[in-house]
């Protein structure tokens, strides 16, 4: 067994021994968890770049990590594409050519890898979830060649015998879930980009990710944890224990757009407007406040 497998064993053992209290997550950045699906039907085939879709197992071993070095921007970009997720709140929609004209739903454009790297490096908490490639139906090249005649080779037998936990690590696993939080390390935090691949939804993985993020933040004494969510994400956050803001604050976003003429987008110089997703946001020009050479008759100080 290689080093990664050995460390996974010790982690798994440790995980089995410890109880699931808050301090457990603080001391262990990585853990092996199992996700269970209520039924073993296969999911609807989704638009993915995977080689094939196979029925999801009822119980899936997962490797969940809060170690920032386990997630690579390229890998994350692929995950976002699988989930049709954009980092922009008002994303630009494109037609993905590989799905042909039949793909009626528009996809969001791919996220900029460099910006993603910057965002990750400035996020206080990063949680990533991995599973074995076969658990979401990815077959490797060797299996393709052997064909699906039902016979198992020695490699397959070994894989079935050795505890699956040993086989997953960030280096050989498939990134299937993610979430991050941005914080000022003192008072507030906001959660962004919580995603799970479509084939593994409904198994509590998203909830696992969110719980890990909140536990880590609370262990750092940050209690004001917010998550921006669109209408279709609301039920997920509700189910995870998030509710409306207790102070009744109104969520507001800057959406002032630059007026667009006939040749939209080409008219504005960089200092006047900025293209963000599908919006062209107006940059407020520097204002000079009126100079006041007024004599101010005020009460004496102190």
């Amino acid at each position: 067994m290689d080093v990664a497998a050995i460390s996974a064993v010790s982690l798994a053992t440790l995980a089995a021994m410890k109880s699931s209290s808050a301090c457990y997550c603080k001391s262990i950045a990585m853990e092996i968890r199992w996700a269970r699906k209520p039924r073993s039907n296969s999911q609807n085939p989704t638009r993915t770049a995977l080689n094939s879709i196979s029925p999801v197992e009822t119980s899936v071993p997962l490797y969940i990590s809060a170690n920032p070095s386990h997630v690579q921007p390229q890998q994350l970009r692929r995950l976002f594409a699988l989930c049709n997720h954009s980092c922009h709140r008002f994303p630009k929609l494109i037609q993905r050519s590989e799905y042909g004209e039949a793909a009626a739903t528009a996809a969001v454009e791919d996220v900029d890898v460099e910006k993603l790297g910057i965002a990750l490096s400035h996020s206080s908490v990063l949680v990533s979830v991995f599973c074995k490639p076969r658990d979401i139906g990815i077959r490797d090249q060797e299996e393709e060649v052997k064909g699906g005649d039902g016979l198992m080779g020695l490699g397959d037998v070994l894989q079935r015998l050795i505890p699956p936990a040993l086989m997953i690590s960030p280096s050989n696993g498939q990134l299937v879930g993610f979430g991050r939080a941005v914080s000022d390390s003192g008072l507030t935090a906001s959660i962004h980009d919580v995603v799970v691949v479509p084939q593994l939804r409904g198994m509590g993985i998203g909830k696992m990710i969110l719980q890990k993020i909140t536990r880590i933040l609370i262990s750092r004494d940050i209690y004001d944890i917010a998550a921006l969510c669109s209408a279709n994400e609301r039920s997920f956050f509700n189910a995870c224990g998030f509710g409306d803001d207790i102070l009744g604050s109104t969520t507001m976003m800057y959406t002032r757009t630059a007026p667009t003429g006939e040749n939209a987008g080409g008219d504005y110089q960089d200092h006047m407007a900025k293209r963000v997703g599908r919006k062209l946001l107006l940059i407020p020009p520097p204002r000079e406040l009126p100079s006041l050479k007024v004599t101010v008759g005020e009460c004496a100080e102190d």
Binding site: I118, Y223, I225, G243, D244, T251, M253, V276, L289
Partner: protein, 257 residues
């Protein structure tokens, strides 16, 4: 202007209209809390302090004596997208008083702020107290902190300027996609002059120039209109903020305690 009740970390400004007497603070470098204790310095602080000391030096030696018009001394903003936005400091407004005292409203994005001054300002607007260490950490780790100070220059006095914090706003960000504006505060005696607007616009400008497009804030109902006038939309496309329930319990504890 009615306003109010602002909750800390959330967007609130312009509190009560009850008369509050001003307290003047003398500015002295030693009164600044040492942020070096609280984790990494993400900005080139040496550059910031050099910029600041030059500016204040020039004031003390009386170079800026002209009180005819507001001098807007704005250093050129950086166009290099890889660098942090250069800290700026300039006089937003200037007025002279009958006894010859000049009052300048100085804008700064250097983030050098005395937490004790900030705490006093928060007291003025009626916000509940927050632990100073947490406040200092939050300021240190914010993407940008913009402040307004009132500087009163007495004629003929050398170095006896009275500097007082009268406004602040800060934004947290992941430096790439998302930013949230928190803690917008303006001294009640200085409201109604466009100062809050200047603070917010400066933050938006700095964020958009860096391509950070999701700019969010959470506004108390009384100030929603103020932010709408600045280009913010409430619940755009159904996007709302949800808060972790664990926070509610802890917050209630803090409020009662």
């Amino acid at each position: 202007m009615a306003v109010i009740h602002a909750h800390p970390h959330r967007l609130l400004t312009f509190p009560t209209s009850s008369p509050l007497h001003r307290r003047c603070f003398a500015s002295h470098p030693s009164s600044y809390l040492n942020y070096g204790l609280f984790g990494r310095a993400s900005r080139p602080r040496e550059r910031v302090s050099r910029l600041r000391s030059n500016f204040w030096e020039s004031i003390r030696t009386g170079l800026i004596k002209d009180n005819n018009s507001a001098q807007v001394i704005e250093p050129p903003s950086t166009t290099d997208p890889e660098e942090e936005p250069l800290p700026e400091e300039f006089i937003l407004m200037e007025r002279s008083e009958p006894d010859g005292v000049i009052e300048q409203i100085v804008f700064s994005s250097g983030g050098d702020i005395d937490v004790y001054d900030l705490e006093a300002l928060c007291d003025k607007v009626g916000w509940p107290r927050r632990p100073l260490t947490k406040l200092a950490a939050a300021l240190e780790n914010s993407y940008m902190v913009v402040t307004l100070h009132s500087v009163r220059i007495s004629p003929g006095s050398e170095g006896n300027d009275q500097k007082r914090l009268i406004g602040m706003a800060r934004a947290t960000s992941d430096h790439a996609f998302n930013a949230t504006i928190w803690d917008v505060i303006v001294d009640p005696s200085y409201q109604g002059q466009g100062l809050g607007k200047a603070l917010i616009e400066k933050l938006i400008r700095a964020l958009l120039q860096r391509d950070i497009g999701n700019i969010t804030l959470f506004a108390d109902s009384k100030v929603v209109e103020f932010y709408q006038n600045l280009g913010f939309e409430a619940d755009p496309e159904g996007i709302k903020e949800m808060a972790c329930s664990k926070r509610r319990r802890k917050w209630h504890q803090l409020k009662d305690g």
